[in-house]
């Protein structure tokens, strides 16, 4: 009996481990599930997963290994934009389809034949946040971002998007991802005259520190965080009291129970949440695990649809994905769109009483 | 007091002591002379336990010493003023002396220190200065004084007269003689063979890791071979 080998390269450890760890867990879990259900057309799927520690050079090496040595037919992974760019170079050169889990738009723009991605772009996140701000009449905002890839890239996107969406960024501060205190930056932001809201782009523990410092300084302006913290862990680290009222764009994943029963994502989301929490020993789901979930769903479906388990055939099948409902949104790939999501997939969430609330 | 039998020691794979036998009686002053590289320093290092022994035994005051770790030997009455002085350069002169009495933190330390200062007044003058700044000879004095702070029953001196002014060389040999009166046993390694043999009761001659001659100091001084090879007369 032949095996279908699927490759994965994620940043399970290293600076992006809070993203990569749930991704790795999800990928492992879903391959198990797949095999438990009988595999693909009767063939078992075998997962080869490597941890790149967040280092693009390592990611490239592991991608090469997957393709050249392990002989995988498709790859998922690339937790950060840097690692994704490294992997996609290998994917394109060796013509093996790759579904990236990172945010930056350059991964799929311009479209490359073998590269796809599941997360929203950070540009879309900025758009979503700014839309919500404008709806509340907030147009003068302060920006604070982490200096890591995620924070810096989203900062750049938000500055670009702000120009066209009538938002004025009057303060632009940064912090290191492991800094212990951000009160000086927040003090400066608070002091900007006419400022109406604050947006933080970042992931990991930094945003939690921001949120606590925000409360410490008694700043009452609305605080927006990015989708990088869309997980219950964020509320825990920030303290529910401090996080009260914080808004962020997230996926349906965190608010599965609150979704309209008719919402097509509801079942997908609840099922993934239940499975993940069981498999991960109670660790809370995060948006990032969701991206991996969607990537695996897309890949599984393509494997089932494809006439053969050859990379080229799989690629074609992935590109043909339409109406696939994932935790992040509904995917419709095409020759010209390897992202397959639109803004509607993002939902504006608000933290309320230590839990999540959908902003209507 | 101190008996060494068949002592062997090596640096890496090269053996430099090939079975040394040596005996120091209680209250005796015994000197070891020998050319550069004969193994005198290595012998003393073995006695203090800072050099691994690969064969033979050391017995001190009737007890086997070979297995006793270096730091326990001071408390048992064995102190050394080592070659190259080995003072604590980053600590003050006074702290060096106090550490000499590390194993006996009691009132007698102050008295001993006063004695040491009486012996070497310059050390008292420089007591609060970092020992690393002392002149070579001053450091040598400090090393000797520090060894005495260890209240040795048996004192091991490795070339104590090195770098000392002639006046002090004479004084050091006086001190050694004086120790005898205090019932301190002394094992003295010296290049100043004439001086050493003059104060010693007995002497050993070492050549390339072996004892080649042994006898009362007076006899050795008179021995033509010793006179030619070590006294240069």
């Amino acid at each position: 009996l032949a095996e279908i080998k699927i490759g994965a390269v994620v940043s399970e450890t290293g600076p992006a481990s809070s993203l990569g760890d749930p991704e790795a867990k999800t990928i492992r879990m879903m391959v198990e599930e797949l095999n438990a259900k009988g595999g693909i057309k009767g063939e078992k799927a075998k997962l080869v997963l490597y941890d790149d520690g967040g280092d693009p050079s390592k990611a490239k090496t592991f991608a090469t290994r997957l393709v050249e040595d392990d002989g995988v037919v498709a790859m998922v992974g690339g937790t950060t934009t840097g690692t994704s760019l490294a992997i996609l170079a290998v994917a394109e050169e060796s013509k093996v389809p790759f579904i990236s889990l990172a945010g930056a738009i350059e991964i799929i723009d311009p479209v490359k034949p073998f590269t796809f991605k599941t997360p929203h772009t950070d540009r879309m996140a900025c758009q979503k946040i700014f839309d919500d701000m404008k709806a509340r009449g907030l147009t003068k905002i302060g920006l604070i971002s982490g200096t890591d890839g995620f924070g810096a890239s989203m900062r750049a996107q938000c500055i670009a998007v702000a120009k066209t969406s009538g938002i004025e960024i009057v303060a632009d501060e940064t912090y290191g991802p492991k800094d212990a205190d951000m009160t000086p930056q927040l003090t400066n932001i608070r002091n900007k005259s006419g400022i109406q809201a604050v947006l933080n782009t970042g992931f990991g523990q930094g945003p939690a520190t921001i949120t606590r410092n925000y409360a410490q300084l008694g700043i009452t302006l609305p605080l927006y965080q990015s989708h990088g913290v869309a997980s219950n862990a964020f509320i825990e680290l920030s303290g529910a009291k401090n996080a009260e009222g914080v808004r962020l764009p997230g996926t349906a994943l965190l608010v599965g129970e609150l979704l309209d029963p008719k919402d097509p994502q509801k079942n997908v989301v609840l099922a993934y949440k239940a499975n993940f929490e069981k498999a991960a020993g109670g660790a809370p789901v995060s948006t990032f695990g969701g991206y991996a979930h969607d990537a695996m769903r897309i890949l599984t479906e393509a494997l089932n649809k494809a006439p053969s388990a050859k990379p080229a055939a799989i690629r074609d099948a992935i590109e043909g994905t339409t109406g696939l409902v994932g935790t992040t949104g509904t995917y419709n790939y095409s020759k010209t769109d390897h992202l397959g999501l639109d803004l509607s997939a993002f939902r504006m969430l608000e933290i309320s009483n230590g839990g999540w609330k959908l902003v209507k | 007091m101190l008996t060494v039998e068949g002592l062997r020691s090596r640096y890496g794979r090269i053996e430099v002591l090939h079975g040394v036998d040596l005996f120091v009686g209680s209250g005796e002053i015994v000197t070891v002379v020998g050319a550069n590289g004969a193994g005198k320093t290595t012998l003393l290092r073995c006695l203090s336990g800072v050099q691994p022994v690969s064969g033979g035994t050391i017995t001190f005051r009737g007890e086997a010493l070979t297995q006793v770790p270096a730091y326990r030997r001071v408390a048992r009455g064995l102190a050394q003023s080592p070659e190259g002085r080995q003072i604590f350069t980053n600590l003050s002169v006074e702290e060096n002396l106090r550490l000499g009495a590390f194993v006996f933190a009691d009132e007698r330390v102050e008295r001993d220190m006063a004695d040491a200062f009486a012996m070497f007044p310059i050390l008292k003058e420089k007591r609060n200065q970092l020992a690393g700044g002392l002149s070579g000879g001053q450091q040598q004095m400090l090393a000797i004084a520090r060894a005495l702070m260890g209240r040795p029953a048996c004192l091991l001196l490795d070339e104590p007269s090195m770098g000392l002014a002639p006046i002090l060389v004479a004084q050091i040999f006086e001190v050694v003689k004086g120790l005898k009166a205090l019932d301190v046993t002394v094992l003295l390694v010296e290049q100043n063979a004439f001086g050493a043999l003059s104060v010693a009761d007995r002497g050993y001659v070492m050549e390339t890791g072996r004892v080649t001659m042994v006898g009362p100091a007076a006899e050795l001084i008179a021995d033509p071979r010793v006179r030619e090879a070590y006294l240069g007369i």
């Binding site: 501060e173 212990a180 520190t209 | -």
Partner: protein, 290 residues
């Protein structure tokens, strides 16, 4: 004015965190000239083990005590099984051992505990204290008090106790230390135990401010190392001053110049200080005659 005060508060808080780590470096360094790159892991262990203890239902003080004791034991084990067997190896080799140990400890923590990020509850609540328009979290006061207390203890240890002197003597001249009857092996064991315990205590104190995870140790060690060198390695005074100075520089740069380059400015100042004082602010200048 209140802004300046807020920046200072922030700087002192962060600086105290750095100082705590830097203080941990001093003992092992003073005993062996080795900068123990696993010091950050001791801090991490203090936090992570306490977190696990609290999660298992223990009261925080008990969990903290267990964390400190366990970490000290790990420090001793590191010395016994890795540093002591390599005695006589060049200092760089010993440093590499500590780097290996830090990777090892991180790996074990990730397996035995978890990969998550955790926070301990603040010791005296999260209600900010207002002072002249600035706000301070009570936990910051705990951290500062901890740094000062450890500093005083270490300073007394090294200047007032014979054991402290023995530690210094051991690194200055291990051979001579043995010759005067110092059990250098015990000195090393003690140093690792104390360093690890100080690290763990630091971890307990800072985890309510700076959430911990198995990977937090490296960045803490880096900053702590920089702080210790700024102040002068080996001197508790230097560790405290270096830590606070580094924290203040970062906060004031973030406040008045630019948060983008706050770490850069901090390193610039370190470089500038070292050019003026090649052994840090309080580093001792060894006199070696030739």
């Amino acid at each position: 004015m209140s802004d300046l005060l807020q920046f200072l508060v922030s700087g002192v808080t962060v600086g105290a965190v750095y100082a705590l780590v830097a203080l941990g470096f001093t003992i092992i360094y003073n005993a062996s000239d080795v900068v123990n790159f696993a010091q950050g892991e001791f801090v991490m262990l203090g936090g992570m083990i306490s977190v696990a203890g609290v999660a298992a239902g223990l009261p925080l003080p008990l969990a903290a005590l267990i964390a400190i004791a366990l970490t000290a034991a790990i420090g001793v084990a590191l010395n016994t099984f890795a540093i002591e067997p390599a005695r006589g190896a060049p200092v760089v080799s010993l440093i590499i051992i500590t780097i290996g140990a830090s990777i090892f400890i991180r790996g074990v923590t990730q397996i035995v505990l978890d990969k998550g990020t955790h926070r301990l509850p603040s010791f005296s609540g999260d209600d900010p204290i207002h002072v002249l328009g600035a706000t301070v979290l009570p936990q910051s006061l705990w951290v500062v008090a901890g740094a000062v207390a450890i500093f005083v203890a270490l300073w007394l240890f090294f200047t007032r106790t014979l054991t402290g002197r023995a530690v210094l003597a051991t690194s200055n001249n291990r051979l001579a230390a043995q010759l005067v009857g110092i059990n250098t092996r015990f000195v090393m064991t003690l140093s690792f135990a104390l360093s690890a315990a100080i690290g763990a205590l630091a971890g307990v104190l800072i985890t309510p401010i700076l959430p911990t995870s198995f990977e937090i140790g490296i960045s803490l060690a880096l900053k702590g190392f920089a702080a210790a060198m700024l102040g002068g390695m080996g001197n508790p005074k230097g560790a405290l001053a270096g830590g606070l100075l580094l924290g203040l520089m970062e906060a004031l740069t973030a406040g008045y110049i630019s948060s983008h380059y706050k770490d850069a400015v901090a390193f610039f100042v370190i470089l500038a200080v070292l050019f003026a004082f090649p052994r840090g602010l309080y580093g001792s200048n060894p006199v070696e005659r030739v």
